[in-house]
């Protein structure tokens, strides 16, 4: 048993390493092989041949391809993503600065997604075919089908410009900007750290709309999965047995059915969290939210491959890491996998 477990871990490590290598190969391929000349991007098309060759040499592009790939892997693994031409900083430093904003947004979004999605999914399963089931289905379908960037714009018109219920684009009102020091990079936590409730509530008013829009998609996904997991459990015979023993409907659902879907639910939530990074690209653009997605788009529009590929690579790594993590959690939480 012990040995088999060890073997599984080794195999998993090998598979993760292979995927990681593939990830690096793919970003390398995108950066070097496709018709985008990094030398031209730096020197411009007016440069003479000697300047061109010099820059080409500096970038190491005159070396054989496998040497370039090896150097690329070494640089990426040591966290050296090169310089971002459009900000003038190292990409790694830029990313450190923008990531907390995205993580804060995604965390609020997933709280909204789980907080609404799970109860909605349970209710839809318990009262299958009822009004609430239909409502959950329609809400979910619209969540799958609506472009988040459009919802964001409409939300800004309605809740910010017309009703004035929430803050506008950005993380804070201009008046509050730079009024608190950065400790964690999470605006709400930093405000609490300083004990400045005014800034805290301003930050909350700014994050609530983008987080709701971003969280809507995950809410749709989570409620749909919760519903189908619950239906599966409720059809099991142990539920009949629990009822026959005299347990009331909701007690059986809470103590038996819901507890049994927790493991699956954790996997779904982790996956939903990972996909928030994708949603962040467009949501952050709409809300001028200075996070990772905003940075990626700015890099794209500036034609800065270093920044773009670093972002792509990081998202890939986060995905692999989250998958690995849910796998481990699954093993820890589900006694059958031991």
């Amino acid at each position: 048993m012990r040995l088999a477990g060890l073997k599984g871990v080794v195999r998993q490590a090998g598979s993760v390493a292979a995927t990681l290598l593939g990830l690096l190969a793919l970003t390398f391929f995108i950066g070097r092989m496709l018709p985008n000349d990094p030398v031209l991007a730096i020197v411009g098309d007016q440069a003479d041949q000697s300047t061109y060759d010099m820059v080409r040499h500096q970038l190491g592009l005159d070396k054989p391809l496998y040497v370039q790939f090896f150097l690329y892997i070494r640089a990426m693994l040591s966290g050296d993503f090169g310089d971002a031409l459009f900000t003038g900083h190292r990409v790694a430093d830029d990313l450190m600065k923008v990531f907390p904003a995205t993580v804060e947004l995604a965390t609020f979004a997933i709280i909204i997604g789980v907080g609404i999605g799970v109860p909605l999914g349970i209710l839809a399963a318990v009262y299958r075919g009822s009004l609430i089931d239909h409502v959950a289905r329609v809400v979910g379908l619209l969540g799958y089908s609506s472009p988040a960037f459009w919802l964001g714009l409409m939300g800004l018109i309605l809740f910010y410009a017309t009703l004035g219920w929430v803050g506008g684009p950005g993380r804070l009102d201009v008046a509050y900007m730079d009024s608190i020091d950065t400790h964690t990079g999470f605006m709400t936590i930093d405000a609490l750290w300083e004990g400045d409730m005014e800034v805290f509530w301003n930050a909350v008013s700014h994050i609530i709309l983008p987080a709701s829009i971003l969280g809507y998609g995950s809410m749709a996904y989570i409620s749909r999965m919760t519903r189908s997991f619950m239906l599966e459990q409720m059809a099991q015979e142990y539920m009949v047995a629990a009822r026959a023993k005299g347990l009331s409907g909701w007690a059986a659902i809470r103590r038996h059915a819901f507890r049994n879907i927790l493991v699956q639910l954790v996997t779904v939530i982790a996956l939903a969290y990972a996909f928030l990074l994708e949603g962040a690209v467009l949501t952050e653009t709409v809300f001028a939210w200075p996070g990772f997605g905003h940075y990626l788009v700015a890099g794209l529009l500036a034609g800065d491959m270093n920044a773009v590929l670093a972002c792509v690579l990081i998202v890939g790594i986060i995905f692999i890491a989250l998958n690995l993590l849910t796998d481990l959690l699954y093993r820890l939480m589900d006694p059958r996998t031991r």
């Binding site: 970003t27 995108i30 619209l142 799958y144 459009w150 410009a161 690209v281 034609g303 998958n323």
Partner: protein, 312 residues
């Protein structure tokens, strides 16, 4: 021959056709096939939501095909005097910041959206089917290699990877289609592989193999057709996401370039006039939502008919 017999001629043609389609005993493979299509259609058409989705898509196809008739002024006719006009009888959906009729641009935009959807499907289906069936049929190191490559692509969210490709290829609608197709094939390949695995050891495959059929022939003639229904369902469902991704690329200015009327870029162009002329952004968004919703509904219905195993 039967048409010459007495009783048949007095019947309405419809009844004859329906009898033929619902006969208990079929007389030809063609009749059997027609019966299956007919029964599938009856199940599909009994679902009202599916029919709604199908209707929306049909309307879209008609609008795209008849665009010059519906909107004779074209998508690029500017009238700078009538900029940002509100919806009216002359301009049903108002005008944009160059005085172009938003309705006309929406109509021509349907062409762009449908073209993206069709081209992506036309690229993704063969690649996904080929990779998936080859991996599933041969197994061994071929399977391992192909699925490793698949895993790498699957470890990115599609929009992020598409952005990476567009960054390298350059903006434009052709490159957007290539980028989306490159990110959309892995789930199809994985599905086709899973399907192939379920029947690659089936007796009928073994029978064909013993008859001396080549691997290529077995895959193309006997494996691929078996995978088709679930692949069609999956592509229809994925089309919803593909349209949103395409619109997202357009929104970021990386897809269709002006003056081409793409819904995503129209939405983006309206951002500057949100407070005064909200319809410029609102209308394309609703169109994207409806189209994507239609694909979702149709895909759900198709799944119920074509792929009875998976029910959620």
């Amino acid at each position: 021959m039967t048409a010459l017999q007495g009783p048949d001629r007095t019947r309405p043609i419809n009844a004859g056709l329906r009898d033929w389609l619902t006969a208990d005993v079929t007389t030809s493979p063609w009749q059997a096939r027609a019966q299956r299509v007919y029964l599938g259609w009856r199940r599909l058409s009994s679902n009202r939501l599916t029919m709604f989705g199908l209707a929306v898509l049909l309307v879209l196809v008609v609008v795209a095909a008849l665009a010059p008739v519906i909107a004779p002024e074209g998508y690029d006719a500017q009238s700078l005097n009538g900029r940002l006009a509100a919806p009216s009888a002359a301009h049903w959906l108002g005008t944009d910041d160059l005085g172009r009729d938003v309705f006309a641009r929406m109509v021509y935009g349907a062409r762009v959206t449908l073209m993206i959807a069709c081209l992506v499907a036309a690229i993704v289906a063969p690649i996904g089917l080929l990779v998936g069936t080859v991996a599933g049929y041969f197994g061994g190191w071929v399977d391992t290699l192909l699925m490793r490559i698949n895993d790498v692509f699957l470890s990115f969210p599609s929009l992020i990877l598409a952005l990476g490709f567009v960054a390298a290829l350059g903006p434009g609608i052709r490159n957007a289609i290539i980028a989306i197709a490159l990110t959309a094939w892995p789930p199809i390949a994985r599905l086709a592989r899973a399907e192939t695995l379920t029947f690659r050891n089936a007796d009928y495959i073994a029978a064909v193999r013993i008859q001396g059929a080549s691997a290529l022939r077995i895959i193309l003639r006997h494996v691929v057709p078996m995978c088709l229904p679930s692949v069609v369902v999956r592509i229809t469902l994925n089309m919803a996401g593909i349209i949103i991704t395409a619109a997202g690329l357009g929104f970021l200015g990386l897809g269709a370039q002006p003056p081409q009327p793409e819904w995503g870029s129209m939405l983006s162009a309206g951002r500057a006039h949100l407070s005064g002329a909200w319809w410029i952004s609102a209308v394309p968004g609703i169109a994207i939502l409806l189209t994507s919703l239609a694909f979702n509904l149709l895909g759900d219905g198709l799944r119920d008919v074509l792929d009875p195993r998976s029910d959620t």
